[in-house]
Symmetry: C2
Subunit: 573 residues, 2 copies
C-alpha cells in the first residue's frame, strides 16, 4: 500500500492536490473530506449563476467535458475516496490522526494520515452591524447561499438590493442584479473608492462612472451602521449619511481565512488567522501541507506577508502541494495580485501595487496615466484603453499597473505582461518601454499603450512631464479647493474646444496643438496653464515646447479629457 | 544653435526619433528626408486598406486625433524640417555631410550633420522568377502599390489572385481579397507550412485549416517557377506542380534591409545587408545611428544575430536613438519575435522560437500542446484556444510559444506574458506553471491555459506524458506511414465516439474516461494504445493509470481531437 493522504476541503486547492497526487502516486490512498455536500465548484462563477447567464448551478461544478464533479466522479473517474458532509474536528499530530464527524448524524471517526493537506478555505467577513442576522442579509459563503438568492429573485421577491462592499464580488453581484433582473442596486463602500487597494484612485473613479452609467448607485466614503427589519426581514440599510430601502442585502466585505483547525492543532498561523506555510506549502508541521484561501502568502512586490484568496492561486498551490507529497520540490513563491473583472460594458484590471498601496508601503510612488486606442485607430473596432502605471521615483522600479477599457481581453493582455515581470524579477521603466508585445493593427498599436505609458512614466520621473491629477483638475474647475490662478489651454480642434470656452470663459482658451509654436504670444504669461487634449500626449509635447521658451508654469492633464469624462462628466458642457 | 541632426527615412523609426529628439532637444536643428512623398504611414495597415476596412489611405498616415501626418504637420505641429521626395545619395563621413538629390528635378544638395540617423527601411524581396516584371505582379513595397492594387480591385479587373508566400503579409492579403472583394485567392508557399519559422507546424496546420474554410487554397511545399503573361499582363502562375490562373499576383516573400547607403559609406553591415548597430543603436561610426527595418538585431532567445522588420520594433528603436542623441543612455537589447495576426475568424500568434527553429538552433526542443477553453466553460462566449509551448528538455528553459484561437485579444494575453519573460530573463517551465495571470470567469479559467500548457510541458519532459504528434496520428489513420499495431481508445462520451468506432472498427474503441479503472480488462494488451479525448487531459490521466497497472505501451494524442479536427477534418466521420 502507498502513503495515506488525507485532504480537508474539496472546493479548489483540495481537489487539485488530490487529482495531481493520484497521477503522481498511483499507490497512495487519498481521501478528501468536506463539510459541504456540494463540492468542487467554481465559486468565482457565482455572480454569473445569480445573474442567470449560467442557468444551472451544476455548470459551476462540472468539468469542461460536462461531467458533474460529484462524489461519484471523484471516486470512479479520479480513483479518490471522498467523504462529503464530513467536518474535520481536530488534528492529533502526535498520532497523525484527523478526527472527523458526520455533519448529519454527528457520528465521529478517526482518519489516520501519513500526510495531511489543509484546504479549509475562507469565510466571508460579516461586519458587526446590528441586524446582520435578519432574513435577507446574505454573504456569499457557498453555493447554497447563491441558490437561495436566485430563488428569491425568481419568485419576484426582490426589487431593491443594497450591497455592502465595493470590491470585486460586490460589483459583480451589482451587475448580476441590475443587468439581467432589472433590480435597483446600490453599493455602500466605506473607503474613498471602489476596488480599494486593488486599482488606482483614477481607474476606480472610471469604474464608478461605468456603474453609474448602468444605474448602480455607489456611495463611497460611507459605512453601513444598521440593518433595519420588518417582521424579521430586511427592509432598510442605514448608513452614516442616509437610509436605503432594501429587500435583500449582500454583504461582500471580504473574506477571512479558515485557520482554526490548524491553529487549534498548534500550527503556526498569522495574526489574521491564515496558516503559515513555506514556499513548498508546508505548515510548521512538515507532515501537514496547506493551500488555498486558508494560507498566508508573500506579496512579491512589497516583500511583505499578504493574503490572496483567489481560486486561480488556490489551484496553482494545490499542484505544488501534490508535487511535494510525491517528492518533487516545486515551489509557490508568492503572489503579485493579478486581477481582472467585467463591469457591464467595460473591464478593469490590475497587478502589483496600486499607487495608494505603494505609498503606504513606503515607496516614493509616481502614477503615470496613459490613454490610447486599444488597437490601430484606423481599425474599425477600436476603443480607448486607460492604464495607470505605478513606479518608484528613486529606483524607476515598476510597482504595479491598473487599467480600464472596453469589455474584452485587451486589458488582460497588458496586465498579464506586467504580472509576469513582477512575478519573476524587478522590472524597471525601461523594461516596459522596449517590451516587445505582439503587434498587428487588429490587436494593438505600433507603440503599444503599455510601451507608451512606460514612456510617460519615464518623462514623469525624469522631471520632463509635470502633471495635475484628474481629481485635482475636477476640483479646480468646480472651485472646490485652493488653486493658483489657472487657465485651461485646450489644444484640440477648435470645434472640440468651443463649448468649453463658452462654458468657462475666464478659465478656458482654445489654441490648437499645431498652431502653438506660431502663436505663443496668445498664452497668458502670468497664469498657471493647464494643458488639455484628449489623451495627454499633445499636452506633453506642448509642455516641452513651453519649457523651451521659458514658460515653465504649466501642468499637463494626464490621460486627457477622456479620463476625466469617464470619471465624472457632470461638469462638462 | 543646437546640434544638426539629419534623419534619412520618414516612415516609422525616422519620425519617431525626430519627434522624441525635438522634445528632448528644443534647440536642435532636425531635418528628415524621404524619397517618397507619402510619409509616416502605418504600413502594417495596408491589407486593411486594400480590403476596404480602412476606406482612405489618409487614415494610415493620420494621428489618433485625425491630423494627416504630412509635411505641413511635421513642420508646424512638430517643429521639424522635412524634405520629402528627396533621396539620400551618399554619406561623406569625413566632412559629415549627407548628399541628397531631389527625386523629381535631380537637383542635388549637401546636408551637413552633427549626428545622422539612418532609417532607410526595407524593400520586398522579389524572387528571380521569369515574368516577375509583368504588369499585375506586385510587391507591397509602399503605399503607392497598395493604392494601385485597390484601384484595380475597384475597377473590377481582378477575379483571381495568386499570392507568393504564406507569411503574415501573404495571409493578410489573401483575407483582404477574399473577405471583402469576393476574389478567388490562393497562396503558394515553398516551405512545408504557412508562417514558417514563426509558429509551430501544428499551429500552422490549423491556420491552413482556417484559410481553407474561408475558400483560400494553400499550396505548401510548392514553388512558383514562372509568371506567364498575355499582352504584357499576368495571366498564370506556374508552380512545380500546377498552373494557376491569375489576374493579379502579390509577391510577399519577405523583405530585405536597405543597407546600401550605409554599406557604401563604409559602415559595418551584416552578410544580409542589414546595418550593424550596438544596443544604443549606434553604427560603426559613432556619429551615425540606425533604426528600424534596415538594422540587424539580436535574437534574445537564440542569442544569435537576427533580422526583425516590424513597425513596432522600429518605433521602439527610434525612441532609443533619440534618447542617445540627447545623451540619455537608453538601450534596445534585442528582439524575441512577438507576433500576432488575424486570420478570418481566428487569430494566430507567437513569441520566441518555434519548435522547428529551436531544433535548428541546436536546442533539444519539446513541444507541449494545450487545448482549453479561453474563458470559464460555463461562461457563454467561450471558445477553444490552442497553445504550443516550446521548451528545452535538458534545461527546462522556455524557448517559445505559439497559439491559435478565436479572433479577439485572448491569445495575445498569453503571448504577451511569455514575451515579457523571454525578453527579460530565462524563464523555465515552473515559472509558467505558477504564473499569476489575471483571472475572472469572463476572461480565463482558474488554471489558465498557459499554466496548464506549462504543466503539460512539465509532464512531457519529466517522462510522465508520452505523445504522438497530431501529424503522425493523421498519417497513421490514413495508413500512410509505418506504424505499430495500434488501437485508438476513445475516452469521450460513447455518443461522441460512436461514429468513429463505426468508421474504423478495427482501430477505434470506446471506453469512457470514468469507466477505465473498472474496465481495464477490455483494453487490448498486445497493441499500442492511442489515448484520445477532446483536449488531451483525460488521455494523460488514463496514461498515468495504465502505467500504474503495467500497460505502458500507449501514446496520448496531445491537444486531443480538437487539434486534429482543425488541422484536417477530412478523415473524420
Amino acid at each position: 500500500m502507498g502513503k495515506k493522504i488525507v485532504i480537508v476541503g474539496a472546493v479548489a486547492a483540495g481537489p487539485k492536490a488530490a487529482c495531481r497526487a493520484r497521477r503522481l502516486m498511483p499507490e497512495a490512498e487519498i481521501t478528501i473530506i468536506d463539510q459541504d455536500t456540494l463540492i468542487s465548484y467554481g465559486g468565482c462563477g457565482i455572480p454569473y449563476y445569480v445573474s442567470g447567464e449560467v442557468p444551472d448551478e451544476k455548470e459551476l461544478r462540472s468539468t469542461s467535458f460536462h461531467m458533474t464533479r460529484d462524489e461519484r466522479f471523484f471516486q470512479e473517474a479520479k480513483g479518490l475516496a471522498i467523504r462529503s458532509g464530513t467536518r474535520a474536528v481536530s488534528i492529533d499530530r502526535a498520532k497523525k490522526i484527523l478526527n472527523v464527524e458526520d455533519v448529519q448524524t454527528g457520528h465521529t471517526d478517526a482518519l489516520p494520515y501519513d500526510k495531511l493537506v489543509l484546504a479549509t478555505g475562507s469565510r466571508p467577513f460579516m461586519p458587526p452591524i446590528p441586524g446582520n442576522d435578519l432574513d435577507g442579509v446574505f454573504t456569499i459563503s457557498d453555493l447554497h447561499k447563491a441558490i437561495e438568492i436566485k430563488e428569491r429573485l425568481s419568485r419576484g421577491e426582490v426589487g431593491k438590493v443594497v450591497i455592502i462592499g465595493g470590491g470585486a464580488i460586490g460589483i459583480e453581484m451589482a451587475e448580476a442584479f441590475v443587468d439581467l433582473w432589472g433590480i435597483e442596486a446600490s453599493i455602500v463602500e466605506f473607503m474613498p473608492q471602489v476596488l480599494p487597494r486593488i486599482v488606482s484612485r483614477t481607474i476606480a473613479a472610471m469604474v464608478k462612472g461605468e456603474l453609474r452609467k448602468h444605474g448602480v448607485t455607489v456611495y463611497t466614503n460611507e459605512a453601513a451602521r444598521q440593518f433595519v427589519g420588518e417582521g424579521g426581514r430586511i427592509r432598510m440599510v442605514v448608513t452614516n449619511r442616509r437610509e436605503l430601502e432594501a429587500d435583500l442585502v449582500v454583504v461582500a466585505a471580504g473574506v477571512r481565512p479558515r485557520g482554526e483547525l490548524a491553529r487549534d492543532a498548534g500550527l503556526l498561523v498569522s495574526p489574521q488567522g491564515a496558516i503559515v506555510v513555506n514556499q513548498r506549502m508546508q505548515t510548521s508541521d512538515p507532515d501537514i501541507y496547506a493551500a488555498g484561501d486558508c494560507v498566508e502568502t508573500l506579496h512579491l512586490v512589497s516583500g511583505k506577508k499578504a493574503y490572496a484568496p483567489m481560486g486561480s492561486i488556490a489551484n496553482r498551490q494545490g499542484r505544488v502541494v501534490a508535487d511535494n507529497l510525491a517528492g518533487i520540490p516545486s515551489v509557490f513563491a508568492g503572489a503579485v495580485g493579478s486581477f481582472i473583472m467585467k463591469v457591464f460594458d467595460a473591464c478593469v484590471g490590475a497587478t502589483g501595487l496600486s499607487p495608494e498601496t505603494a505609498r503606504m508601503e513606503g515607496f516614493d510612488a509616481a502614477e503615470a496615466l496613459g490613454t490610447q486606442s486599444d488597437r490601430a485607430h484606423f481599425f474599425p473596432t477600436y476603443a480607448l484603453m486607460f492604464l495607470s502605471l505605478v513606479v518608484d521615483r528613486r529606483t524607476r522600479r515598476v510597482l504595479g499597473l491598473s487599467g480600464f477599457g472596453a469589455m474584452g481581453d485587451g486589458l488582460m493582455a497588458r496586465i498579464n505582461a506586467v504580472a509576469s515581470l513582477l512575478e519573476t524579477g524587478r522590472p524597471t521603466i525601461s523594461d516596459l518601454s522596449t517590451l516587445e508585445l505582439a503587434y498587428a493593427p487588429p490587436f494593438s498599436t505600433a507603440v503599444d499603450i503599455l510601451n507608451a505609458t512606460a514612456n510617460t512614466a519615464d518623462n514623469l520621473v525624469s522631471g520632463r512631464l509635470r502633471t495635475i491629477t484628474p481629481e485635482e483638475f475636477i476640483s479646480w474647475i468646480r472651485g472646490k479647493t485652493d488653486h493658483p490662478d489657472w487657465m485651461a489651454v485646450d489644444l484640440r480642434h477648435p470645434k472640440e474646444a468651443a463649448l468649453f470656452v463658452e462654458r468657462f470663459p475666464d478659465r478656458w482658451m482654445a489654441l490648437p496643438y499645431d498652431t502653438v509654436r506660431s502663436n505663443q504670444e496668445k498664452l497668458p504669461g502670468d497664469r498657471h496653464l493647464v494643458l488639455i487634449c484628449n489623451a495627454g500626449t499633445r499636452s506633453y509635447e506642448i509642455q516641452c515646447f513651453l519649457d523651451s521658451i521659458g514658460m515653465v508654469d504649466s501642468s499637463v492633464l494626464p490621460g486627457g479629457l477622456n479620463v476625466v469624462k469617464r470619471m465624472d462628466p457632470s461638469w462638462m458642457p
